[in-house]
């Protein structure tokens, strides 16, 4: 049935409302309503198309810059000099300023932010050794992450939870009696209030050493994390190694360990290496003791140099770069991932 004039007016108004709304963007619900309205009648569709066309035409006309005036413009139809059409001084000035700012920015980036020649290990990207990451958590607790390790932090009002996904982490926990600090690794929970401990998760084994205070360990499978009576307590200078393949079937075997074991276990944690007037080999030995990547002097002449230093034990990159730039040393990374040091004159 043909719609009446009144109905047509109403449909036109609705169609125009949709067109205007579409211009500002429709939500999913609105789009669904529009589709439904269009599908109700072919008249809706036709009028909607007309309104859409009109709206687009208005947009197009708005793009024209017309000249209006009370007097006749004799030059209106004369072909304009292209230069006068395009030469809008303000526009070009703005463009020039913007271009200048961007150019200055790029110069600054090049000068100050990009590494200079001595920063880049040209043609030797394999020499890069990542530094140990240290992270201060929201509560002031500090975590050192050994190279390649990964944690997830999840703090809430009642609990501070850190999941050790892989690798090794050393925790120094800030005291907060109301929120226990819990490290979760493969179903085991290590709960502390204010303490320091090291957790290593490697080769299906969890290795925990407490260096300060007490931690409680349990398996979350028993759901007894909040029941201290069922936890195994690990005191200062104690260690437990949990093979995950026997999880849940064995009693945790707690070992007493001395300072030397603790030191050798957590010596990956960065420390300042302080030497005074020693041959290079002594500093290298100290780096080697504290890193899995090993350095080896190939050319004895390299060892003639005597050095004083204060250096973070995980800054192998910085150490190598300075040796290469200032001490007549050339470094090469071997296939075994270790770094070999030659005299610069040695081929």
């Amino acid at each position: 049935m043909k719609p009446t004039d009144m109905e047509l007016n109403k449909i036109e108004k609705i169609a125009m409302d949709w067109v205007i709304k579409e211009d500002t963007g429709l939500s999913a619900t609105e789009q669904s309503k529009l589709d439904k309205w269009l599908s109700e009648s072919t008249v809706h569709q036709e009028i909607y198309e007309q309104q859409r066309w009109s709206w687009n035409e208005l947009d197009r006309l708005a793009g024209f810059h017309t000249q209006q005036g009370t007097s006749e413009n004799p030059n209106l139809l004369i072909e304009q000099n292209p230069k006068s059409i395009f030469f809008d001084f303000t526009r070009w000035l703005n463009l020039a300023v913007a271009a200048a700012i961007i150019a200055i920015s790029f110069i600054l980036v090049g000068k100050y932010l990009l590494p200079n020649d001595s920063d880049t290990v040209a043609n030797k990207p394999q020499l890069i050794v990542e530094r140990i990451e240290s992270r201060e958590l929201d509560d002031g607790s500090v975590v050192f992450l050994n190279r390649g390790s990964l944690i997830e932090v999840d703090y809430n009002e009642n609990r501070r939870q850190v999941s050790l996904i892989s690798g090794e982490a050393n925790f120094t926990v800030a005291k907060d009696m109301n929120r226990p600090f819990v490290v979760e690794v493969e179903g085991f929970q290590i709960k502390a209030v204010g303490t320091a401990f090291n957790v290593k998760y490697l080769d299906q084994t969890v290795d925990i050493i407490v260096t300060e205070g007490v931690v409680a360990i349990n398996s979350s499978e028993n759901d007894s994390a909040d029941n201290a009576g069922l936890d195994e307590l690990l005191n200062e200078n104690q260690r437990v190694v949990i093979p995950l393949d026997k999880k849940g079937t064995q009693h945790l075997e707690i070992q007493q360990v001395d300072e030397s074991v603790i030191e050798s276990t957590i010596n990956w944690k960065p420390t300042l290496i302080d030497f005074e007037n020693v041959p290079l080999i002594e500093i290298i030995n100290e780096f080697n003791r504290r890193n899995t990547v090993q350095m080896q002097i190939i050319d004895d002449s390299v060892n003639d140099v005597y050095i004083s230093s204060i250096f973070w034990s995980d800054n192998i990159n910085g150490f190598i770069k300075l040796l290469e730039a200032n001490f007549g040393v050339r470094a090469e990374r071997g296939e075994d991932n270790n770094i070999y040091l030659f005299g610069q004159l040695t081929e």
Partner: protein, 106 residues
């Protein structure tokens, strides 16, 4: 065109802020003294790692430095007139100090 200008200015500001961070001012208080000891003291205050080439360094004393300044400015004051120079590795927070002579390998 104004949005382009605004974006450009924001970009420039970000770059300038980053550039300024490279030149953080630090407070130094290193007395004059034996080069290797003073330079280590300086490195600790600057938060830098340091390697000092001990060859020909014996007997050299560095100048005192005191006040708020950049690490570059502090080092220049300490090393002025000593015959020592330095090389900084920006990417690795480390510097090397050595005696300047003909045989310096660099």
């Amino acid at each position: 065109m104004q949005p382009l200008l605004i974006v450009s200015l924001m970009f420039l500001s970000a770059i300038l802020v980053q550039s300024c961070k490279q030149y953080d001012m630090l407070t130094f208080d290193v007395p004059a003294g034996e080069a290797n000891k003073s330079l280590k003291q300086f490195a600790l205050q600057a938060g830098l790692d340091i390697l000092i080439n001990e060859s020909d360094l014996s007997g050299i004393k560095t100048n005192s430095v005191e006040g708020e300044m950049t690490t570059d400015a502090a080092l220049k004051i300490m090393l002025e007139g000593t015959g020592l120079d330095y090389h900084q590795e920006k990417g690795s927070q480390a510097i090397a100090v050595y005696y300047i002579n003909e045989n310096k390998s660099k």
